[in-house]
Structures are given as C-alpha cells and as structure tokens.
Symmetry: C2
Subunit: 426 residues, 2 copies
Amino acid sequence: MGGESLQPPRGTRDFYPEDLRRRDWLFAHFRDTARLYAFEEIDAPILEHAELFTRKAGEEIVEQLYHFELHDRHLALRPEMTPSVARMVMARAGGLRLPLRWFTVTQNWRYERMTRGRLREHYQWNMDIWGEPGVAAEAELIGAIFTLLDRTGLPRGAVRIRVNSRALLEESLRRGILARRPEAFAPLCVVIDKIGKIGADAVIDQLADPAGAVGLARAEAADVVAMLDARTLDDAARLGGEGSLALADLRRLFELIDSTGRGGDLVFDASVVRGLAYYTGVVFEAFDARGVLRAVCGGGRYDRLLETLGGRALPAVGFGFGDVVIMELLADHGLLPDLRRTIDEVIFPLGEAQRPAALALTGRLRTAGHSVQTVLGTPRLKKVLTDAAADGARRVWILGPDELTRGVATVRDLQSGEQREEPLVS
Amino acid sequence: MGGESLQPPRGTRDFYPEDLRRRDWLFAHFRDTARLYAFEEIDAPILEHAELFTRKAGEEIVEQLYHFELHDRHLALRPEMTPSVARMVMARAGGLRLPLRWFTVTQNWRYERMTRGRLREHYQWNMDIWGEPGVAAEAELIGAIFTLLDRTGLPRGAVRIRVNSRALLEESLRRGILARRPEAFAPLCVVIDKIGKIGADAVIDQLADPAGAVGLARAEAADVVAMLDARTLDDAARLGGEGSLALADLRRLFELIDSTGRGGDLVFDASVVRGLAYYTGVVFEAFDARGVLRAVCGGGRYDRLLETLGGRALPAVGFGFGDVVIMELLADHGLLPDLRRTIDEVIFPLGEAQRPAALALTGRLRTAGHSVQTVLGTPRLKKVLTDAAADGARRVWILGPDELTRGVATVRDLQSGEQREEPLVS
C-alpha cells in the first residue's frame, strides 16, 4: 500500500491532535449553545436507506448523494441530517411531547464531482423545533445562531442574517404565474437559489427551459426574478399585499428579534430562498458581512416534510450550521483559538528499576484527577524536560534510586523552573 | 415512504435524547480516562479506501467489510480504527514526536450476514501507543482499562483482564511445528481465537484442514491446542522455556500491574490470542467475571502493522473498547445511570403580547449561563407546569399583563412549590 492509499479519500479530512482540539472547541460551542436554549441532542446512523433522501426536485444535495447497492439494499451516507430526524419523529409519532427541541452535531457526505477545494464531508450542527407553527420558533433558532456567533468571539455585525419567506413568494405566484401549477414552486425555489452563483440571466434561462421542471414563459421568469430584488419589508408588502399572512409572520419575527437586541443584524432579502426543496415558509441564512465567504449557515420552515415522507403533517423549522465556513471566517478575522496541549504531570523513572514506584505514584495522581504522562523507555533527563515543555506539562517528577531510598521525588515546576522534593506517600 | 424506511437500516441504532444522554455519559468516561493518561484524541474519515482494510488472513472483520464501488473507487466503512490510525502515523512518519499516545472514540461498521441481536455498527474507544517497544506501554493501556471500569461504578473483580503473548506461542511453534512456515502463524491465531465459540475439536479440524491457510498435521494441531491450556506463568515457563523474551515481558507486565495495585485482576491465559491477524506480542482482553458476556474489550501489540502497509516498522500497542458489551454489563449489575433531562428556567409568556418581554428576559438569563426554555404557543399554565416538571426544570417564570405592568415576573420554584416575584431588570 502506498501513494493515494496513505491519504484519506479525496475531499475528506484526517484530524490530528491539533485539528481535533479545534474541532472540539467548535463542537463544544455548538453543544453549549444548544444547552442554553434547552435543546436535546439526538443521533441517527450515518448510513440510511437511500429512499429517505431521494427526492424529485433536482436539488444539488440529492444529485450529490453518496449512494450504493449493498447486499440488495440501496443505501446512502446522509447528505444532511433533517430527513433522519424526520424519520425518527415519524417512528415515534404520537409518543413524543410537542414541541420537540432537538439538535445534532453530525458528519454529512456529499459527492461533489468537481472539487475546487470543497470537501466531500463536513460536520454540521442542526437545531430543529417540531410542532410549533408560529415564528416564535424561528426566533429561538435565529437567537441560537447569534449566541453561537457571539461565543466564537466574532464582533457584532461580522455575520448578519438574511431572512425571507417562501410563503410570501408562493402566495404571490399562486395568485398568478403558478395558479395552475403549484407543484412547480419547489423546483422554482431550487433554481432561484442559484442566482448568487449563476446570475439572473441564467436563472431566467432555467426557469424558462421548456424541458425543465418549472417551464415558465420567458416574461414570467423575468417577473419572478424581478420580485427577488425586494430588500425591505415595505418592498415585501408591495409584493405580498397587505393581507398577507407570510408578511405578518415576517413582521412578527423582526419584532421578536428586536426584543432580543439583535434586530440590527437581521435583514430582509427576497432573493434568499435556500436550496432545499422542502422549505415552505420562513427561510434564512447567516452571511459574512464582508461578502467574501459563502453562507455560514442556513435554515427554514419545512411544515410539509413529514407528509412528503408519508406521515401526518407537523410544523417544523430548523437550521444547519457547518464547521468549514465558520472556521474560514474565524481565520480571516484572526480569531482561530490557539489551543495548546496541556498535561498536569510528567512522571520520569530514571531507570527501569524505578518504574514500579513511578507507576504507583502515577496511579495516585490520576486518582486525584491529574492528567499524568508516564515517560516510556529511559530517555535522558534533558529530552524529558524538553518534551514535557512541548507537551504543555506543568511539572516533571523525577524518580531516581537516590530519591526512592529517601522516599521522595524531585519535582520540577516547568513554569518557574523551581525544584523541590515531595514525599512519596502511598 | 413507510414501513422499513421508517426504521434505521437493520443492525443500526437511532439515539433518542435518553439514549444519547447514556452514550454521552459513557463517552465522557472514555475521554476523561484518556485525559488522565495524557492521551490526545484524533479522528479519521469513516469512509476509507477499502485496500486499507483488506488483508489475506481470513479474519472475520475483513469478511464483514461494508465495502462498495463508487465512481471507480473501492471504498469501505471502517470496521475498526487501527488501520486508519496507522495510515495517519505513516503519512507523517518522521514528523511525529515518539512515543505517540493517541485515542479515538469512533463508530465502526461490520456487515454481519446472520444477525442474532448483534449490531452492524458500534462505537469504540481506542487507545494506542506508537514508538515504545517495552511492556510499560501495555501497562499504561491496561491501567486505563481498569480506570475506565472503576469510573463506571463496577465493583473490583467484576471485570478482569486475561493476558497472553502471541510471541510466546510463536517462539515455541517456530522451534517446531512452524519452523519452515512462519507465515502460517497469523492465520493460525485467527483460527485459535475461535476456540471459545466453536470448541477445541473444531479448531483442530480447521488447523488440520489441508485446504486451509494453516495446514498442520492433525497431531500437530492437537499439540497446538494443548498448549492453550496454560493458565499460570509457571505453566507458560514450561511452554516457552526459561530464556524466553516473551515470557520475560509477561513477567515484567505482571510486576508493573502489581505496582498499581491491580495485579489480582490480571490473569494469564494461553488461549487468549485475539482475532486480528496483525497482533505480534502481548494480547489481552477484559472479561465479565461471571462468564456471561463476550469480551468487554481487547487489544495487543502490533509491531509489524506499518510494515504490512508498506511503511517502516514501528512498535505499537493498543486496544478497542466497544460501547455495547459494557452497557449490557452495567445493566446486568444494575449500574446503568439514571440520566434525566434538566433545564434551569422555563419562561412562560401568558399571551403573545408578553412574548417580546419574555424573549428579552430569556436572553439575559442565557447570557448568565442558564439553560432556558421559552414556552412556544400559549398553552394553559397547568400544562406548562406539568411539562416543565417532566423536563426537569428548576423554575417557571410567568409573565402576564399584570406582571409586565409592574415590571416583574412570577417565579415558581418547582421543587419547593414556592412562588415569588422577581423584578424584570434589563
């Protein structure tokens, strides 16, 4: 074995100790934030029946599914967590006390054929609320995103949240362009979502493609794209009309976020529809205020997903927050934490004859809760001290024959350089 | 979708909140123990090139590989962690300061065709030391296993550790039966490992199978099986002869474990060889002293694995400790922890008009580090109090129009039942 096989599969990552410390730091913030919001963590297998993920809406996420046949089963590595969570909700339908507040921190897989520094796996923090139709649920989730961002040390305003409602667009289109074809709405959103990447003209082309899932007339497609220019709730009011329920929801959401002091970091943007077909209502994404990186996280309401999977409808809203973009953003801001390894004690038996006594001491210190490294082999003292300092140790305990005869260890404090003797009480 | 698709794939597990709390409890003990021993955590992708795992030694673990072709690559879900760790060591060969003390807590997959309540995925805690040839490394790992067992609350003696050395058996066989065919040793160990499951006669049949990888004469096979009866180091001395290095290592290992006070929980057992082909020296497994469950964990020295993978030899020793057997054992002992959900505060706005003030209060409490649940919708007070108690909340804050007028909240302590008013300072 050699060459390629020495590397992890293309687009995947190894986590060496320094990488894992950083990942842990981020995951701890995900979990601590979820705890502040009183969400409960769950998990599901990374491998699911592929059927759980295959939808007909032409989403990138489905096209990039890591799927395969194995022993006559069609299986897939999950590309996102929401379908698994939905499956778990359905499997215990009726037995769960609503609303549910669940979160996950999981690895998801997407097979991207053309990789340009993009990964095929990433970790994602998901928070979902099931069973609550009102935007108070959205306000909780958006609040959690702001809390996470604050905890990372990012200054206020470095990341803001764009919000829109698919229902607002849908209300408008159902009165007109899509009056007779409501089923075209989900694929229409999937196309619109690409506008930042491919531009307005290409979106119009795709919406007006007679072979596509949307199939608008060209003028209609241009009208849809024009609607996406709205950037204020007043613009949105002109779009939705004053009796619009979706508009009322958006206004209420802004009011609730205002009450938490973060109204200034929430902006309306009619072009935000998100790329997943199953969203039905409010959608949102956190973005780098400099406009450099892609979305930091995204989410929305998906009140009809359980129906799609064959269950009873249950209102739901959630978001996914990946590990890659936030780390890039923190690096850009000079905010990546410097996480050194630390150890309390290093125990150094000068010779193999002192090892049993060294192990007995080690055991006592560990029982007292200290992180203790026993020096293996019998390197020279100088190397032991250098390595101990590099490992972030606080103290080195030296046990030689002379020390053992007197029932002591020589303890060197690596910060102060001071040395003293400690009795080896058992 | 329905029926089967509502379930996770056969042999895999969903983790609902109560399941995840229990998993977290175990994982925290794994990680805390590793921290006491000054090991560093690493991780690798769950999907690897299948070549990393395919060996020719007829191990069950390779036969049960979850592997598939995808876009012209032969990929596999890892059945165990050691090959990935070995790959990471090789990839940075020369750049890593030895000895390495690394640990992992990862999910591994095995496709077992005949399932009898056995799972196809499990989690495993691995600890490995790379770069140390002496049994002081084994002593550290065995010490960590005892520490973990103690932390779970298991009484001393409930789990003991059987130890042997493949090198002892190999020394003996190389002088005789396998003098001309040293390559038959690894597959011989794989067969011997099954003795507890299939019995001595079936092991002799397989060792003497002319079409098998070992191909001993029947009398030779019977001699090998007879060697496995040794249960003391003195028996082992007769087997290995007094100049045996492997025997000296075992004696030293017992001496070191004795010095930690756990000598009584370590027993020599010549029948322990473990089922992985790559072990070369000391092997060990923790076992249920009642003899009811299968091995709690297993490990050993694998000094030639890096060579097998095409690298330079590097001494290494490690163990894998699964999540399933230990939980069964704790359940049998009545030691499964009762882990209830807990929340600090539940905030209940009596009506939607009070929600903005409720959110402002919620934000202040969360900033102070409290775990806070905001009641969604406007259920009746009685339901809120019942749900809050079921969720393990300490206090319920009630914000009605009267309270807001006076700038207070009514706070009910759910343990004492007492109620008081708290000012809503901002």
